[in-house]
């Protein structure tokens, strides 16, 4: 693997965006006001020294609300991504490696869940508030619901990877030395497929952040007064004629996070696939 200096630009930019936002969000409680602190003497204030990004209709500090919202959005993104990997990697790996009936069954499952738009599936699940999700903290609840459909692209990608890898010489060598299927998959193929795992993990995080924001925007995700990026944009809808910063700032944060995770995914893919790197340099002609 190349040193950081030779990493694709996409990966470096993505890391800067995601790590920068994460650091700001993580440190938010240390240096910012309480995001729930209401000050009715300072409502809808323009950005100023006291409130860097202004205040909302209840006089709450927007800087604090956006960064505290980031803790939730980024947290749900990472958590959903982990859930998606936990389901998608084993299913995709077994389907690709085993083939035959296992593959047919998993592929049918993938096609089935992929048919129903994941946003609709998430909304239906949340609206019915099934007993198993009662009492679970909002963040985990939303992440679980998003992971329910989020594993699909992960499984698809992993299936393709393992299908490709299973004919590798190392598999034959491992088999000749008496290794079981499980051992081959875990010890030999999974490390080789680590890059695709990282790629799908960051794409999964990006889409989870987007869907979570959509859910909160529609009032079905993490509940107020807890600030979330989607929820802040939903609040901004009420102040449609004033306070431009209310609509611009949370959206920019959301945009940066989604772009960051997408760039990381793309960057890792380029980093580990020498073909695309060369393709880019020679202007699309290998």
């Amino acid at each position: 693997m190349a040193s950081a200096r030779h990493w694709p630009a996409a990966l470096r930019r993505g890391l800067v965006l995601v790590l920068g936002l994460s650091a700001l969000a993580a440190l938010a409680p240390l240096w910012l006001d309480d995001p729930l602190h209401i000050d009715l003497s300072a409502t809808l204030e323009n950005p100023s020294a006291a409130h860097w990004l202004g205040t909302d209709a209840l006089g709450r500090d927007l800087t604090s609300r956006v960064l505290h919202g980031g803790r939730i959005s980024l947290g749900i993104g990472v958590l959903t991504s982990l859930f998606s990997l936990a389901i998608g990697v084993p299913l995709g790996a077994v389907a690709g490696f085993r083939g035959g009936w296992t593959d047919a069954a998993v592929s049918r499952l993938i096609e089935t869940v992929a048919c129903v738009p994941s946003l609709l599936l998430a909304i239906a699940l949340l609206a019915m508030s099934p007993a198993i999700l009662r009492g679970v903290p909002d963040v985990v609840r939303v992440a679980l619901v998003l992971g329910f459909a989020g594993w699909i692209p992960v499984a698809r990608y992993m299936r393709g990877e393992f299908l490709r890898l299973k004919s590798a010489v190392m598999v034959e060598a491992a088999r000749a030395s008496g290794a079981s299927d499980l051992r081959i998959m875990v010890r030999h193929l999974l490390p080789a497929a680590l890059a695709p795992v990282l790629v799908t993990a960051s794409f999964a995080a990006a889409s989870a952040i987007l869907v979570e924001a959509a859910l909160s925007f529609l009032g079905l995700g993490v509940r107020p007064p807890q600030p979330t990026w989607g929820g802040l944009l939903s609040d901004a809808r009420e102040q449609i004629a004033q306070g431009w910063w209310l609509a611009v700032v949370p959206g920019l944060a959301l945009f940066a996070a989604v772009l960051g995770f997408n760039l990381i995914g793309e960057g890792v893919r380029d980093l580990l696939d020498p073909r695309t790197c060369q393709l880019d340099k020679s202007g699309g002609r290998p």
């Binding site: 049918r108 499952l109 096609e111 089935t112 869940v113 992929a114 048919c115 129903v116 738009p117 994941s118 946003l119 609709l120 599936l121 909304i123 239906a124 699940l125 949340l126 609206a127 019915m128 508030s129 099934p130 007993a131 198993i132 009662r134 009492g135 990006a206 987007l210 924001a213 959509a214 925007f217 529609l218 009032g219 079905l220 509940r223 989607g230 944009l233 901004a236 809808r237 449609i240 004629a241 431009w244 609509a247 611009v248 959206g251 959301l254 945009f255 989604v258 772009l259 997408n262 880019d280 020679s282 202007g283 699309g284 002609r285």
Partner: protein
């Protein structure tokens, strides 16, 4: 060839059955006493509503019987009745469908209409400034959440400039006025440009590497002529497969867009049902959207098989 299509249709039917099973599984998460209580501030169901639900889904019977009798009702077009106004779910869906279909058809038209020239311009000179700029621009658009774009566009064009209505369907029933459709269609279109234009570019570059194209170059055709004569014909087939991916994405987008712009389509119906915990409507729309996406995928696969002679004879 026929055999191939038949097999695909059979697996499609199996998937449809699995989609109904998935929706049936969702019902199972809700039934019985959990419907009566609610810890998330949503209104609990009245006992009359619960009895109506239980009568429709037959909750007192064994699971297998419930599923079979529910499938029988589906086959007769009976999706249950809305808890809200006790009208058949199918009627509610049918009256909302024209708005969603026109919105999505327009969005699809503009996605393809814009992506093909963008992708073609990029494919003409890979690595050129046009290629890199269109890639960056569409990539950035792709990361913009649709509800944020809607909010900013509303602010600019409806509030600030006053050129377009803020929301609503313009006081008409059925398909909204043109002015009311502009912003919703823009919101549904821009996100698809990145994916589709890259797809067009990749497929055009792939197809112009084929030998027919080499011979066309040898005959002295310009690159543009080759792209038009050969590239598009060769690239048209893989582009069909996009339909399968675009339909679910567009549908999810129209849930958000219809809600923000208050267009009386399926998406808004779905969100209303979610707020009101109108479970029959919620599941009816979920089922219909899954079936629509599946139909799109099957249509793409079958057309693919018909259009490509190599697949056709295989």
């Amino acid at each position: 060839m026929l055999r191939r299509v038949a097999i695909r249709m059979a697996t499609g039917a199996l998937t449809l059955l699995l989609v109904t099973l998935l929706v049936f599984g969702l019902i199972q998460l809700a039934p019985g006493s959990p419907l009566a209580t609610s810890d998330d501030g949503l209104t609990p169901l009245s006992s009359a509503d619960r009895e109506a639900l239980e009568a429709y889904y037959g909750f007192d019977q064994p699971l297998g019987v419930q599923y079979a009798s529910w499938l029988g009702k589906l086959a007769r077009g009976d999706l249950g009745t809305s808890i809200r106004d006790r009208r058949p779910v199918l009627d509610k869906i049918a009256e909302r469908l024209p708005v969603t279909l026109s919105l999505n058809a327009l969005a699809l038209f503009f996605i393809v209409g814009l992506s093909v020239p963008i992708g073609a311009a990029a494919a003409l000179n890979p690595g050129s400034i046009a290629d890199r700029w269109s890639a960056t621009a569409t990539y950035l658009l792709y990361a913009i959440p649709v509800f944020w774009a809607a909010l900013l566009l509303q602010r600019l064009f409806a509030v600030r400039l006053g050129w377009l209505p803020l929301y609503g369907s313009g006081g008409v029933t059925g398909i909204p006025r043109v002015a009311n459709m502009v912003l919703p269609v823009v919101c549904l279109t821009y996100g698809g440009l990145a994916y589709v234009s890259r797809f067009v570019r990749t497929n055009l570059i792939e197809s112009t590497r084929m030998e027919t194209v080499l011979s066309a170059r040898a005959r002295g055709l310009t690159r543009f002529a080759i792209l038009v004569r050969h590239g598009f014909r060769l690239a048209a087939v893989p582009m069909l497969t996009l339909a399968g991916f675009l339909i679910p994405a567009l549908f999810a987008g129209s849930v958000i867009v219809e809600t923000i712009f208050q267009l009386p389509g399926l998406g808004w119906l779905f969100i209303e049902a979610a707020y009101q915990r109108d479970i029959p409507v919620l599941l009816g729309v979920t089922l219909i959207s899954g079936a629509a996406a599946l139909a799109g995928i099957l249509f793409a696969d079958v057309t693919y098989a018909l259009a490509d002679p190599r697949v056709r004879r295989g």
